[in-house]
């Protein structure tokens, strides 16, 4: 409807615009014609003036012929013709006035020219007589007649000037009386009858000639031309004013039309924008639903598998179950990938900018691939770190980790044997900006140039054929690329077929302003002296750079002898001594003993080796080592070893042994609210391993009932449930009880959702599918006597 209204208004405006345009054209032409008329009227005025003057000059015999007068008259007539064509209406009066003038002129000229001739004839006769009289050739009688004639002529001349009636009568009488005498004048060439005729002609026409002359002198034509000229001027002014107004109107109409079109375009854009937003909202909702729907059964699959693994003794079944678990986890990974990708696509993924420990990110990556490494012994994973990189940098550790994991797993996937090296270094570009670069280099199958070009596209793999050897959704690198871009970074690849591939991601290096308390601990290592004894030059340099990074003074030695020399020759007091186990001729233990003997003071000995602790020689002599580091080790592990030997020793031990014994919480009572039976079963069994008292509820209503009856130390609350959902139940519980921690069990892992849970009073969440370890962490956080209060106080 709106659209048609707009269209209608626009068409109306355009019609108006067209009308104004044509009207402007007309006015333009009118202005032109009026200006022409004005010029013409000026010419006419001049011409009428000339015409009157020329005619008058003919009357007084200035020029010998009348061609000029005739031409002036013709010119005036032509001008009038033009004027008549331009202004047929207003010209009528002027044309008739000029015609009247013409009529007068015609008659005047015919009379006045003839009168001139008559006067000349009479004058020539008079002259002749006068000559004769002067020569005294006239007899007395003739002389008398001549005198009478002269008297008469004087009367006639007087009459011409003063047309007196009595004079006229007297002349007429004289003519009659003296006619017989005059006709006797034979001395002149011209007969008296001729002179008499001319005299009578003059007498007859003098009055008329004077009237016509008066008319000729009349300025009425000039006046009416002037009047017309003024009228033209006024009309022209009016038209010009109208023209101006219309020009302004046309311009405003033009702008209005343009504005309207622009407005409509804007509205259309807004509308389409809204549609896009709606569509993306729908997509997001669909994703949330789908994620929930898939995660819920996956939780069951994973949980049950894990439970079965614990109960099962048959190794074959265990192998099957392990594979099943691996497959299920892969599925979850793929699911996460797709969700991540969708989130990035819809711009929902938020990148954090927090201060984080880059070494811990690398440690996580390393830990993740530890097991993988063991099963695929042909590939070795190395980590290298540039000493120039500060320990704490600003960024998003989770997403950075994700990128590295993706790249490493990709590298491992395509590498049959050889090495995968993850290295981090920092550099400064031309414009002075700092960057840190993470490189993942493998010795795998490599790619062609063409393949390199498309690997960052979604759902595309280097090997596009259906018979491809390696599986995957093809999302991994696309997600990496998107994430890197979101983090203002750049990703690039270089590769050679059968030689290997090198992925490189580069981010701006931002050093956070505030350091965490952990950073403070590093101060204790600063300026401390360390001796590194290793025969392998690369290993030595790696450890050296790590220590230098920690701002320690480093001394190196390649064997026992040089180590002893370094120790004795210098005045340095070594606080730490890091020893390798394997030397060509001796073991690390031998060197440690020698050094220990030489030492005047107590130093911390750290043993590093690729062997596991069990494989090494064990005995009381081994106590000389304060710490044990398994190669490869990260900076963090080194730091931990240097700082706090005992605690880390424990952790390392745990890692070696596999799953640690679960802590138990025998006095704690936990409420589990979960509607789906299989999930309830999984969670129940997982929780029972912690030695808890457990109460089960099928929905929110039951949960509230239980909470009313007794106190719980912890509540696990599913969100989506029939009868009453987790949100409603939480709100109800929070009305009376604000202290009991409530943990959401949900497949909804979108950030907004989780924020919503916290808002209504929940204390944490566990995403489905979850594992026993995750549960353990939550239990430890909320049920341990020493930490629970602390957390709740936060």
């Amino acid at each position: 409807m709106n659209r048609f209204l707009f269209l209608f208004i626009e068409m109306a405006l355009m019609l108006l615009f067209t009308y104004v345009g044509t009207r402007l054209t007309d006015l333009d032409l009118q202005i032109e014609s009026h200006q022409e008329t004005k010029a013409l009227l000026q010419d006419i005025r001049q011409s009428v003036n000339n015409y009157q003057l020329e005619t008058l000059s003919v009357g007084v015999e200035v020029s010998p012929h009348y061609d000029e007068q005739a031409q002036v008259q013709l010119y005036l007539d032509n001008l009038l013709d033009e004027y008549q064509k331009l202004q047929p209406e207003s010209s009528k009066e002027l044309v008739s006035e000029v015609n009247t003038l013409h009529e007068g002129v015609i008659e005047y000229l015919s009379i006045v020219t003839m009168m001139g001739t008559s006067k000349r004839l009479i004058a020539s006769a008079e002259k002749k007589l006068l000559q004769l009289a002067n020569q005294e050739k006239l007899d007395a009688e003739t002389l008398q007649t001549f005198t009478q004639l002269r008297a008469l002529l004087v009367k006639v001349y007087t009459y011409q000037v003063n047309t007196d009636e009595t004079l006229y009568q007297s002349i007429q009488d004289d003519l009659r009386v003296y006619a017989p005498q005059f006709s006797e004048l034979k001395q002149i060439d011209i007969q008296w009858s001729v002179i008499e005729k001319h005299l009578r002609f003059i007498m007859k026409n003098v009055v008329r000639a004077n009237i016509l002359l008066e008319k000729l002198r009349n300025q009425s034509v000039i006046e009416s031309v002037n009047r017309l000229f003024t009228e033209e001027d006024e009309t022209l002014y009016q038209i010009k004013t109208e023209f101006l107004v219309l020009v302004i109107t046309a311009m405003s109409l033009f702008f209005m039309i343009v504005m309207l079109i622009m407005l409509q375009l804007g509205l259309a854009l807004k509308q389409s924008n809204r549609r896009v937003v709606e569509a993306s909202q729908a997509k997001e909702k669909f994703l949330a639903n789908m994620s929930h729907e898939i995660r819920t059964p996956m939780n069951g699959v994973l949980g049950i598998t894990e439970l079965c693994l614990k109960k099962e003794k048959d190794p074959t079944i265990i192998q099957y179950l392990t594979n099943l678990k691996f497959s299920a986890k892969s599925l979850v990974t793929i699911l996460n990938d797709i969700l991540d990708f969708s989130k990035i696509e819809s711009g929902k993924l938020e990148i954090e900018a927090i201060s984080f420990d880059i070494t811990s990110v690398l440690d996580n990556v390393k830990n993740l691939f530890q097991q993988h490494m063991n099963s695929k012994a042909k590939v070795q994973l190395f980590f290298e770190m540039d000493v120039n990189i500060p320990k704490f940098i600003q960024g998003d550790p989770v997403r950075l980790g994700q990128v590295i994991i993706n790249l490493v797993s990709n590298a491992l996937k395509f590498t049959e044997k050889g090495t995968v090296t993850v290295s981090i270094d920092a550099e400064v570009n031309d414009s002075g900006q700092m960057f840190y670069r993470i490189k993942v280099v493998d010795t795998g199958i490599g790619m062609t140039k063409e393949q390199q070009n498309r690997i960052f596209q979604s759902f595309v793999q280097a090997d596009q054929s259906t018979t491809r050897k390696y599986g995957g959704t093809g999302l991994g690198l696309a997600i990496c690329e998107q994430l890197v871009r979101l983090m203002d970074g750049q990703i690039s690849v270089s590769s050679e077929v059968d030689k290997g591939t090198s992925f490189s991601v580069q981010f701006p290096l931002v050093i956070p302003q505030l350091h965490s308390h952990k950073e403070q601990n590093l101060h204790t290592l600063r300026k401390q002296n360390v001796l590194i004894v290793d025969d392998h030059i690369i290993a030595r340099d790696t450890i050296r750079s790590m220590c230098e990074y920690l701002d320690m003074h480093v001394t190196t030695a390649h064997n026992a002898q040089s180590a002893v020399e370094k120790l004795t020759s210098s005045s340095i007091t070594f606080h730490y001594i890091i020893l390798d186990w394997e030397f060509p001729m001796e073991t690390g233990l031998d060197i440690a003993k020698k050094l220990n003997d030489e030492l005047a003071h107590k130093a911390k000995f750290i043993l590093m080796t690729a062997y596991s602790k069990e494989e090494l020689y064990s005995g009381p002599e081994m106590d000389v080592f304060h710490h044990y580091l398994q190669k490869p080790f990260s900076l963090k592990e080194l730091t931990a070893a240097l700082l706090n030997i005992d605690q880390d020793d424990m952790e390392l031990m745990d890692e070696q042994k596999g799953a640690p014994a679960l802590p138990t919480y025998p006095n704690k009572h936990v409420l589990l609210v979960e509607d789906v039976e299989v999930n309830r079963l999984v969670a129940e069994h997982m929780l029972r391993d912690f030695g808890l008292k457990l109460t089960l509820a099928k929905n929110g209503e039951e949960a509230i009932e239980h909470v009313r009856q007794r106190h719980f130390d912890l509540i696990f609350m599913d969100i989506q449930m029939p009868v009453m959902d987790g949100l409603e139940a939480t709100k109800a519980i929070r009305e009376s009880d604000t202290s009991t921690p409530i943990i959401a069990l949900t497949a909804n892992v979108l950030k907004q959702e989780i924020e919503k849970y916290i808002k209504i009073g929940m204390n944490g969440h566990i995403g489905k599918p979850f594992e026993q370890d995750t549960l353990g962490e939550i239990l430890e956080t909320f049920l341990s006597e020493n930490t629970a209060k602390e957390v709740l106080a936060d």
Partner: protein, 337 residues
């Protein structure tokens, strides 16, 4: 709004502007046709005295003049394709037809003698009563007169358009083709070329004392002293103003049937006013006066002397003046075309 709407609006808007521009061009008629025409130009020589010689040089647009000549001789200009301009105006024989009253459509006759077309361009007005201000205006007369060509411009244009010669000839000169304006332009250009310079009298005026014989010189003296010169002056020896026939005295009865300008203007004061006729080639344009009732030049001189000047001219005077009038005849400028 869809893209379709937007495109539609834009096209409409452009259409509006194009319409306005088109309207403007149409109204303004700024599209000038390429037309080749140069107006006729004369080179006048001026002398002391009332009579001026005819120009001996002229520049005329020959293409238009030739087309005008063809039209002048074309009988297509009359209703029954039997009369042309040349039927009554023999350009090589004084520019008239020698008849008292010409014969027109269906052998009908009018009331006036056909005046000469030679030097007509120098007459200040056309027709005996000068009712047409220009040659172009004059042409409307014979074309429409029921006793002359008895047709109309429209009819003539239609006939000419069927004629391949005239069609191509007109279109060559003007993209407008055959219309009244172009026909008049052609005919006027032709008439403008019809001048008869180099008369004996003109040579005399320009200083050749031998150009006139003794009698003619006497005639010239009398022409002036009697007062003939009052009206017959200027380049055309007349033809530049009106004068009343019988100004001073009576005129013969046979000349009184026509009241001259009064017939046209109905003004009482215009009775017997006629345009003073040119005396150029007067010896070749008998019979004389507006109705052609005077066959002899001598008679015409006597009538003029009596009616206009009140003089009864002696035989010797008439003979002298007649001799002078012969010196007013010139040769048609053949090199003009």
């Amino acid at each position: 709004m869809t893209l379709k709407d937007f495109v539609f609006l834009c096209i409409s808007f452009v259409a509006c502007i194009v319409f306005i521009i088109g309207y403007h061009l149409h109204k303004n008629k700024t599209i000038q046709h390429e037309e080749v025409f140069s107006p006729t130009q004369y080179t006048f020589q001026t002398v002391e005295g009332p009579i001026q010689p005819l120009p001996k040089e002229l520049v005329v647009d020959k293409k238009w003049a030739r087309l005008g000549e063809a039209l002048f001789h074309s009988t297509l200009l009359s209703k029954e394709n039997d009369i042309s301009c040349a039927s009554c105006h023999f350009v090589n024989e004084g520019g008239d037809d020698g008849l008292a009253i010409s014969i027109g459509h269906q052998n009908q006759s009018g009331t006036r003698n056909s005046p000469t077309v030679l030097n007509a361009v120098f007459n200040f007005r056309q027709f005996w009563d000068g009712r047409a201000a220009s040659l172009a205006e004059q042409m409307d007369g014979p074309i429409h007169n029921p006793v002359e060509m008895a047709t109309s411009w429209q009819e003539v244009i239609e006939k000419l358009n069927k004629d391949s010669y005239y069609r191509s000839a007109f279109y060559k000169l003007s993209p407008e083709g055959i219309n009244q304006k172009n026909m008049k332009r052609a005919l006027v250009t032709y008439l403008e070329s019809l001048i008869t310079p180099d008369a004996a009298f003109d040579r005399y005026l320009l200083g050749d004392q031998t150009a006139l014989n003794e009698q003619q010189k006497r005639g010239w003296e009398k022409f002036q002293s009697f007062g003939c010169i009052t009206c017959h002056q200027g380049v055309n020896i007349g033809g530049n103003f009106y004068q009343k026939l019988g100004r001073v005295d009576l005129v013969p009865e046979k000349l009184l049937n026509d009241k001259g300008l009064q017939e046209f203007t109905k003004q009482e004061n215009h009775a017997f006013l006629f345009k003073v006729p040119s005396l150029r080639n007067v010896a070749k344009t008998a019979p004389y006066f507006h109705n052609g009732t005077v066959k002899e030049l001598q008679e015409a001189i006597r009538i003029m002397g009596r009616s206009q000047l009140g003089m009864e001219l002696a035989d010797q005077d008439v003979a002298d003046i007649e001799a002078l009038l012969h010196s007013f005849s010139g040769e048609l400028m053949s090199q003009a075309l």
